[in-house]
Symmetry: C2
Subunit: 381 residues, 2 copies
Amino acid sequence: MTRTVSEVPAGPFPGLPMSPRLLLGPGPDMVHPRVMAALSAPVLGHLDPEFLAVMDRTQQLLRYVFQTGNRLTIPVSGTGSAAMEAAVASLVEPGDRVLVCINGYFGGRIAEMARRHGGEVATIERSWGEVVGADEVRDALRERPASVVAIVHAETSTGALQPLDEIVRVVHEAGAILIVDAVTSLGGVPLSVDELGIDLCYSGTQKCLGCPPGLGPVTVGPRAEEKLARRRAPVDSWYLDLSLLQRYWGPERTYHHTAPISLNFALYEALRMIAEEGLEARWARHRANAELLWSGLEALGLTLHVPAAHRLPSLTTVRIPEGVDDGAIRARLLSEYGIEIGGGLGDLKGRVWRIGLMAHSSRPENVTLLLGALGRLLGRS
Amino acid sequence: MTRTVSEVPAGPFPGLPMSPRLLLGPGPDMVHPRVMAALSAPVLGHLDPEFLAVMDRTQQLLRYVFQTGNRLTIPVSGTGSAAMEAAVASLVEPGDRVLVCINGYFGGRIAEMARRHGGEVATIERSWGEVVGADEVRDALRERPASVVAIVHAETSTGALQPLDEIVRVVHEAGAILIVDAVTSLGGVPLSVDELGIDLCYSGTQKCLGCPPGLGPVTVGPRAEEKLARRRAPVDSWYLDLSLLQRYWGPERTYHHTAPISLNFALYEALRMIAEEGLEARWARHRANAELLWSGLEALGLTLHVPAAHRLPSLTTVRIPEGVDDGAIRARLLSEYGIEIGGGLGDLKGRVWRIGLMAHSSRPENVTLLLGALGRLLGRS
């Protein structure tokens, strides 16, 4: 049992990097000092009555942010992708027909997950930056009925904002359940789960909610809860089984896993700040700062990738001008100005930049600084 | 599209609780101020070159802590239970025969996960607090071969430390792969993945590593990587698919999800502290403080649940004396002394208390305080 112990690797292992950064990419974004302070509050035990009270209050505030009365409204203990998989794994049973609308990277990810959980997946595909029409969904469901339809409200990869009103109606008329990805919209873009009638909606904490990444809020409506309860077999994931998570977060408090205490503290404080600001004021702030950015980019002679009608306020895609070196500009923004913006993903790689104005990053001074820096680097100001 | 917005719920939503707490339960435990400072370092983008450097260094230090050269050594972006499911989902294919050793709560959880991922599960069951013998594993595998065997090194629910040397040999002789749960041992109890020959080992950050909860370190050896590569179908989870996670953390850096930046900062700092202390010194510290606790509990006339030969230094189970009100004592410890210890779980509910001395909680002054408080509350000092 006496073992030789291998030595500490040579390293070096310096302290954490602390270079100044203004995060204006697709997320994470700047985190407000109040939220950072909450993140580093003393850790409590996961069964401490004081932590249980934070859980309850977090659920109440999450319901406000989702605009829902759904009892099953919780932060999943993983990133937005974990919330996505909790949604898909819990609602899609092997053999279920699933229709996924794909007009960007994240629609594709939902389809991939649905396949892995045994769904028979059909897709509606649109080019990156466009949105999906309700007629297309109606036609697709007539041709091949499905029990679950999934769509992305705010495509982080393209900057397109998907209208949902008509689509919810069409999906419900066809007797299906609608999953909506609101990772880049919740808390920054108008969204009302109950008024729209969305059956399951999920998000991530590091976008418009203004937290560090690591939690994925989810809300589950009555029709989706009923489908979950009617499953023929248990969810094929234990960690992401929403029925187990409901018993953990609900009044039963059945032990499931140890919630990430510190991230939940940060989320609670961020939700308190949203409640103080008020959702409508917050949506308006995101919109106003986005419009400031859009007009400034156009004043620099740049072209916005998504038409105004479907443009997402939280994340803007702007086309990289002919002859401009994508990587070089982003590297100089980072090294000379400390500003991070995002490159294109998938079909838009090398074609657009992605600029996020979310939560504490959505401030007019950030727009002014970015436009000034970009103007200089492009020789346009 | 003009929507009515429901109002902020009545609340109240006070600021975070800050009651003084000494965490001596089964985890989370006290987090060192250096780790808390790292947790609240400014958030970086997940593609920032400075964050990528932290990822690389974290992997190097994790390999030291696991005592392994395995390239696939990463923190899964979820709690220890997420790491458990990443292990099980990635290695167990539908129809695979799996043997799970159950002598406490967490062995049972592994079996449940293996079933959900399509494994045909057999179990060896021992009463809570005992350990499993290599002969039992050999006999079970002779009677019914399995491709995967899973066992818990440190049962958080019972306080038993499972010897592994012989079992690794027996499992390998039978041509199977061994998964080891080291949630409550990694970083606090002697464990050498490569020298023992463990094929896959996972842990959680909030135990002997001394971080807040939220990440689940995993290391995957060559035989387990080969089984993963030979799978007939993709892993039935996307978020917890270790082959995708290797491509994200490895040199390809293929985008998968947005890593929880702040928790990774905390983990990096905690690992730096382990490297500074040295693993052997850290193991010895955990052992010494545990022995101080054990002799102090016995001096109070209490009985330790697990015999000395298999007693876990990081988590101690002590029997609740006849006639003593479990909940009342724990509530008074919390309200009068600010000390959290754990109650029993499952078969041991109401029968034992669980006292954790892990990472920054493993200090002699904590033992002195707890023994003093417990002695007074029990009227034994």
